[in-house]
């Protein structure tokens, strides 16, 4: 089965395909693309969260008062192939404290607070010389040590994906340069300004996973990008890199949708692109890989689009991780008078932040500030009128309205059958619903509940196993005891016998003595 799919997927990019549903949204990207990417100056404090990737919080590797250099590892992850958080600049750790983290949960998280010394001094750098000859394993190790995660917003540890890919056999690396969400333009700017480093990253990744070729997928609306990328490909002399323009329909930048557009194949439910012999990475992730390998610079900065009608001068910034978001907004001229909502990510999938003291994190591709008139007072929720619009636009071909119903009625089995786990939380259904039902909110909630249920079930299962084990042990003990008793009885019995025999013998002897023989 897999072999067949993998072979089919080799045709990736030959012809473009469609995916179900989706939306054509107004782009609003131009407003942040008129000026080159600017560097954000040193902040007075950095708040580097220890939770910046899929999984649990990292363990702090530094302590309060410790002096650190730029690029020093300051936190380490124990899950999903592990990984690190690094110091964004040189200075002193002033605290390890709970601080608002820019995490979807909205909860505070442990942050390492750094007071910069102003020198911005790098740790000693040990780049890999001549990566073209380097062992793929060494490249993968560098990726892991450099704390690289998917920069498209998923923040899944790249080392884990790359490691899995190298084991499963990958023929095509797909670099995703299609930011389908409105407003976000950081990848577009990156592709315009640093095409060489993307191509370099692509070639390193290709070597690290043993892929034969790379496809860079960009949107058909990104005019200047195609030229700059092709120029860089030519310059690098690489022959196995193709650039493919895909139609801009939200959410074609989603991994499953992009794979479907390029190959016409669906990633099996619950599966990954590796099932088709593909690996998807964001273009920004590729540049992070290039920097890590040829410069030994870990992931401590990223391009962030700061945009929306609530910002005076929208643009793209190169920001150190841990910089308070307020600094970025300041650099863009501050808020306009009617700024009303602060969003990390795009308008479709981003999450609203409650304060701009939150730090820039690895997932922060965009800081979007919307105004009152962008969001309007929320409309009251009405009952579902079963219009079916939600199903029409759902790229996962689900029935959102029935899913919603089963979640609200606590029918978890039904919800699983209806594909709750296959929902990519793209928000298309929510967007079109005339009854303003917060469908995606319900689906997120439902997914969390399902996980909880699964955990509970696991616990119950473990408890049952424990109980059974205990029962079995007790039974065994009981049995053993009985056996022991039986044996004892036998032993005693035989002892009795012996005694009897002795007694009998004595008797006989006596009577023998007494009687004639």
């Amino acid at each position: 089965m897999r072999d067949h799919l993998v072979n089919e997927a080799r045709k990736a990019g030959e012809r473009l395909h469609h995916f179900h549903g989706g939306l054509r949204l107004r782009h609003n990207k131009k407003i942040s693309c008129t000026t080159p990417v600017e560097k954000v100056p040193l902040a007075t404090r950095y708040f580097v969260p220890l939770l910046q990737q899929t999984g649990r919080e990292a363990k702090a590797l530094v302590s309060t008062g410790q002096k650190i250099l730029k690029g020093d590892p300051i936190g380490s992850f124990a899950h999903l192939g592990s990984g690190y958080v690094h110091a964004p600049t040189s200075g002193i750790v002033t605290a390890i404290a709970r601080h608002p983290n820019s995490h979807p949960s909205g909860e505070d998280g442990a942050c390492i607070v750094i007071k910069p010394d102003g020198l911005d001094q790098w740790k000693p750098l040990q780049p890999i010389e001549n990566w073209e000859q380097a062992e793929p394993g060494l490249l993968r190790q560098k990726i892991q040590e450099s704390g690289i995660v998917g920069l498209g917003g998923a923040v899944f540890p790249t080392a884990y994906k790359v490691g899995e890919a190298s084991l499963r056999g990958i023929h095509t690396l797909i670099l995703n340069g299609s930011e389908c969400e409105p407003y976000i333009s950081c990848d577009e700017m990156l592709m315009r300004e640093q095409p060489q480093s993307i191509i370099l990253g692509a070639r390193i990744l290709q070597r690290a996973i043993g892929a034969e070729r790379t496809i860079i997928a960009i949107e058909d609306q990104m005019g200047a990008v195609h030229a700059s990328l092709s120029g860089a490909v030519e310059q690098s002399g690489a022959t196995e890199i193709d650039i493919v323009q895909v139609t801009t329909i939200y959410p074609e930048g989603g991994e499953k949708q992009l794979v479907q557009v390029l190959t016409g194949l669906e990633i099996p439910s619950g599966g990954r692109p590796t099932d088709l012999g593909l690996l998807c990475q964001n273009v920004a992730t590729a540049t992070a890989v290039a920097r890590a390998v040829v410069e030994d610079k870990p992931l401590i900065e990223r391009i962030v689009t700061v945009t929306g009608n609530g910002v005076r001068r929208p643009r793209n910034l190169m920001a150190q991780l841990g910089t308070p978001i307020a600094n970025l907004v300041d650099q863009c001229g501050g808020y306009t008078g009617d700024a009303a909502r602060l969003i990390l990510g795009g308008p479709m999938m981003g999450y609203a932040l409650s304060s701009d003291s939150n730090p820039v994190i690895k997932a922060a591709n965009c800081i979007l500030v919307l105004t009152e008139s962008d969001i309007q007072p929320p409309q009251p929720e009405m009952p579902c009128i079963r219009c079916g619009e939600c199903a029409r636009v759902c790229p996962s071909m689900l029935l959102p309205q029935q899913l919603d119903w089963s979640i609200r009625n606590d029918l978890w089995e039904e919800a699983s059958d209806l594909g709750l786990a296959d929902c990519i939380e793209c928000g298309c259904c929510d967007f079109v619903c005339p009854s303003h039902i917060p469908l995606v909110d319900w689906f997120r909630f439902g997914k969390a509940e399902l996980q909880l249920l699964a955990a509970e079930r696991e616990q119950a299962e473990a408890a049952r196993k424990r109980f059974e084990a205990r029962e079995a042990r007790l039974q065994r003990l009981e049995l053993e005891r009985k056996q022991r008793i039986a044996e004892k009885k036998r032993a005693l019995g035989s002892a009795n016998d012996k005694r009897k025999k002795i007694a009998a013998a004595v008797e006989r002897a006596r009577s023998g003595k007494g009687g004639g023989s």
Binding site: G350, A352, L353, S354, D374, I385, P395, L398, F431
Partner: protein
């Protein structure tokens, strides 16, 4: 200084549309057909709409109050108004006022609110109301006016009002003199008495392929419906399969026995078929939700309509067909779930 913001779940967009807007667009799409109705059958329909809307809104407000629902919000969704208008378009233009009262009582109170209100009704409320009055008051419900053009005595506005509200006709007119059978009635009786369809068709109430006047109203329903399709308020599935199945089966019947079967076009352009295809069977709440389900639903309504028209006890069968399919809709939805991505 640091600034605080209110949070909310994604997506962060203003609402793209509302239930009110959906209903309003459907109402707008009905305007051409209503105008044609007035043109061909006089002002009666306007009074019927007014009456039905009045009763519907009254019942709706009453039921919302009783169920402790926000009255303003739900009255504003216009669903009750739409139900009333669709109902009014189905009853004879001179039907007495209490027909609307009873129809709306069953539509709004029973079919809608006793089933749980907007979004929860199993049956199409307008059709429930219509079928109840059709079965209970056959006489009042079959007293159709002939089109103005061939009417013996066209009624003025005041005459119409007097007829609806007081059951009075001007001068010494009798009901029999001013009302007549609909084209579908004629077809039914002629087929029942063994006559040829062609004989029945010589009656002046017939037009080019439907009934005189009727076919034009049907045209305007279609125009409104196509506008709704274009606006994406409704999908193509139900209208296409419903009209398509009627055309196809009607054609087969007609070709095999043209003597006792009207032409397929006659079917499509008479009775409630057009309004049914674009405005009634497309009601999302009581119809199917999945794409394949909608194809089946539309075809089902078309087929049952034809069967009732041919063999049933009523000249038109759209209302019954819709209600029957409403009943089957949940089951159809169950068995036509789309395949989930990657499964």
């Amino acid at each position: 200084m640091n600034r605080k913001f209110k949070t909310a779940g994604a997506p962060h967009f203003p609402p793209q549309t509302t239930v009110t807007r959906v209903m309003l667009q459907v109402l707008i799409a009905l305007i051409p057909a209503i105008a044609a109705h007035v043109w061909f059958f006089g002002p009666g329909i306007l009074f019927q709409i007014t009456l039905a809307v009045g009763f519907a809104v009254g019942f709706e407000a009453m039921m919302l109050k009783a169920r402790h629902q926000p009255v303003r919000l739900f009255l504003g969704d216009l669903s009750a108004v739409l139900t009333a208008v669709l109902f009014a378009l189905c009853i004879p233009p001179l039907a007495p006022w209490w027909i609307s009262l009873i129809g709306m009582l069953f539509a709004i109170v029973v079919a809608k609110h006793l089933y749980g209100g907007l979004g929860n009704n199993l049956f199409n409320p307008a059709m429930v109301g219509y079928v109840v009055v059709l079965i209970s008051f056959p006489q009042a419900m079959t007293a159709w006016l002939p089109p103005v053009a061939i009417a013996p005595v066209p009624l003025g506005i005041m005459d119409t009002l007097a007829a609806i509200l007081g059951g009075k006709l001007p001068g010494d007119l009798t009901w029999d003199a001013i009302t007549g059978a609909t084209p579908l009635d004629l077809i039914r009786t002629s087929v029942a008495s063994g006559e040829m369809i062609s004989e029945a068709r010589s009656s002046p109430v017939f037009g080019d392929f439907g009934g005189l006047g009727w076919e034009w109203i049907a045209n305007w329903y279609a125009v409104g419906g196509i506008w709704l399709l274009w606006r994406r308020v409704i999908g193509w599935h139900v209208p296409v399969t419903m009209i398509g199945s009627v055309l196809l089966l009607g054609l087969i019947a007609w070709l095999t026995d043209p003597g006792s079967n009207p032409s397929p076009l006659q079917h499509v352009f008479s009775g409630a078929l057009m309004i049914g295809a674009f405005f009634i069977a497309t009601d999302p709440v009581s119809g199917c939700a999945s794409t394949r389900g909608r194809l089946i639903f539309g075809a089902g309504v078309g087929i049952i309509t034809l069967v009732i028209r041919r063999w049933g006890g009523y000249p038109d069968g759209v209302a019954f067909a819709v209600l029957l399919m409403n009943m089957a809709a949940p089951l159809i939805d169950r068995y036509t779930r789309p395949r989930i991505f990657g499964r």
